[in-house]
Amino acid sequence: MLRAADVWFGYDPAAPVVRGVSLDVPPGGFLGILGPNGSGKTTLLRLLAGTRRPSRGHVTLDGADLSRVPRATISRRMAVVPQETQLAFDYTALEVVLMGRYPHLRAFEIEGPGDVAIARQSLEATGTRDLQDRLFSTLSGGEKQRVVIAAALAQIGQPGAAATSHAVLLLDEPTAALDLAYQLEVAALLRELQERLPIAIVVSTHDLNFAASLCRTIVLLTRGEVLASGAIDDVITPAGIRALYGVDAEVERRPLTGHLIVVPVARTGPRDSR
């Protein structure tokens, strides 16, 4: 559904940050883009969201080249949850979520009861309904992240329809700024959303275990290039980890949760130098 075909991109054309990446997100898929800092994950996510145009290659949504689709149309099907959200002014949580409905409004149109209902449902879905009248800046890190996810859900929700089919949720390092408890919160939320709603989710992260516990397919990214991609069991192996991080690790499946878990043991050789 969302597909990148051999995309290249650099903020400075002489130094490409994403080199020849191809990936595929099927409807209802859960893709993890895994890589160390500086591997080009955020840029790749921007390319997938259509906010940057690849210098070579295409990004397509249902076969349509994103660079040709109007931004408003894209934003009705795809929402991005950034790593950190800092508001310039004091909005309430509900106002932030309602901003997710803006792509669905015409010029000068205001949110109708349907939009407000979707906003409330999204807050409900992320367990933040009782925070709706609180000022966003007064929320904790985890609460903020969940409200922003709610806003993204509201953005890709359709009025009146329970299902949000063929929509994509992109999250950029959703747990990077959070401590352990909030990380688990967000992970649980994403898992639940994945089960309940038929949306596709793409997560970029450097956190191995987070990716391992959630995603069905993985792309290993290093220095802008795809090192390996495929089903999670095939990619997250000691060999793959050694190649990606230069670290010896043990990979096992926890009986309690059924997730893969990676335990780093020791550094091997020098990491891929940047």
Binding site: R71, V80, P82, T85, L94, M99, Y102, V116, D133
Partner: protein
């Protein structure tokens, strides 16, 4: 604030609209002289003989309308610049527009440029031209080659332009003689005594255009406060919105400054005050700021011309005396 946005806008406009209308109606009744309203409105006395009528219709009414125009323009421009630069401390003068206007007026006043056009005298014209020049310079500096309008470069360019133009202003002042220097300083403090409807009639269409663009900008400004990347993923054409915000707010500021001089503090007090009362949604903040800004400046002008009669204080002094402490209070409150 569970009420829907539509209702909030209506309530704000009606409430603050009442305030603005009251200011407009009451201000011309106040002044350093007492006049007889009955005489002023007496149709039997020819206008050229009716001192009371002239005080009301030539001295006070244009002044009140100028206050409404300049106050609403600067307040709304303040809101838009704050949204564009994502900084609650931004003012309509941050990006150098008023420095350009001041330089233009300064040149006209110092070298006594006596040209007029469509009934507008040299100083306001030169002031407007100066503000356009400043806007042009700042914009061309800030236009990044690849992705859009960099607000950081915009800010740097504006601050640099402010310093540079201030230096030029000092340089020009050096060549002025006494009376000119005094007049220039007075102009810098703001003066709403237009004594004619012409400058208002000329500035009004410019403001209407700006306000129309502001109306369109309300939702984009909400999105811009999420950050330019997030705004983009919400479907906003960020570059187009930034450009529209920059030019419309600069136009409003340039028009306001050419009517009344660079009156400070309105562009920063009113947006903050309004946000305290109605929240941050620009769809409410913008119309509310326009109305509150008008009422506020009209009020300050009444104070300026009555508090130390027969001396007429510059209105910029009154806005500063009120604005300064208010701003300190805001900062203390936030800390």
């Amino acid at each position: 604030m569970n009420r829907t946005i539509g209702r909030r806008v209506v309530v704000a406009v009606m409430g603050f609209g009442l305030l603005a209308v009251a200011a407009l109606l009451l201000a011309p009744l106040a002044g350093s002289t007492s006049i007889s309203l009955r005489r002023a409105f007496d149709p039997n006395i020819p206008f050229t003989d009716n001192v009371d009528a002239q005080i009301f219709f030539v001295a006070r009414l244009p002044r009140t309308l100028a206050g409404a125009l300049v106050g609403s323009a600067l307040a709304a421009a303040g809101v838009v610049f704050q949204g564009l630069l994502r900084n609650p401390l931004a003012t309509p003068f941050t990006l150098g527009v008023s420095a350009g206007a001041a330089l233009g007026a300064m040149l006209a006043l110092t070298f006594n440029w006596s040209f007029g056009w469509a009934g507008i005298a040299g100083a306001p014209l030169a002031s407007f031209a100066g503000s356009l020049a400043a806007v042009g310079i700042v914009y061309s500096l800030a236009r990044a080659k690849h992705h859009g309008l960099s607000t950081n470069v915009l800010l740097l360019a504006g601050v640099t332009l402010n310093s540079f133009f201030s230096a030029l202003i000092l340089f020009v002042q050096y060549f002025a003689d006494f009376t000119e220097t005094f007049r220039i300083l007075r102009w810098l403090m703001g003066d709403l005594d237009v004594s004619s409807y012409r400058p208002l009639v000329t500035a009004a269409p410019l403001l209407l255009v700006s306000f129309a663009v502001f109306a369109w900008l309300a939702r984009p400004l909400n999105l811009l406060s999420l950050g330019p990347d997030s705004a983009e993923t919400h479907g906003l054409d960020v570059v187009r919105a930034q450009r529209a915000a920059f030019f419309s707010a600069s136009l409003a500021t340039g028009a306001a400054v050419s009517v009344g001089g660079p009156i400070g503090f309105i562009g920063i007090i009113i947006p903050h005050l309004v946000r305290l009362l109605v929240g941050s949604d620009h769809r409410v903040v913008l119309p509310a700021s326009i109305l509150v800004g008008a009422a506020f400046l009209i009020g300050c002008d009444v104070v300026a011309r009555t508090i130390m009669a027969p001396l007429d204080l510059p209105v910029g002094v009154i806005t500063a005396l009120i604005g300064g402490p208010f701003f300190l209070w805001l900062l203390v409150r936030k800390a």
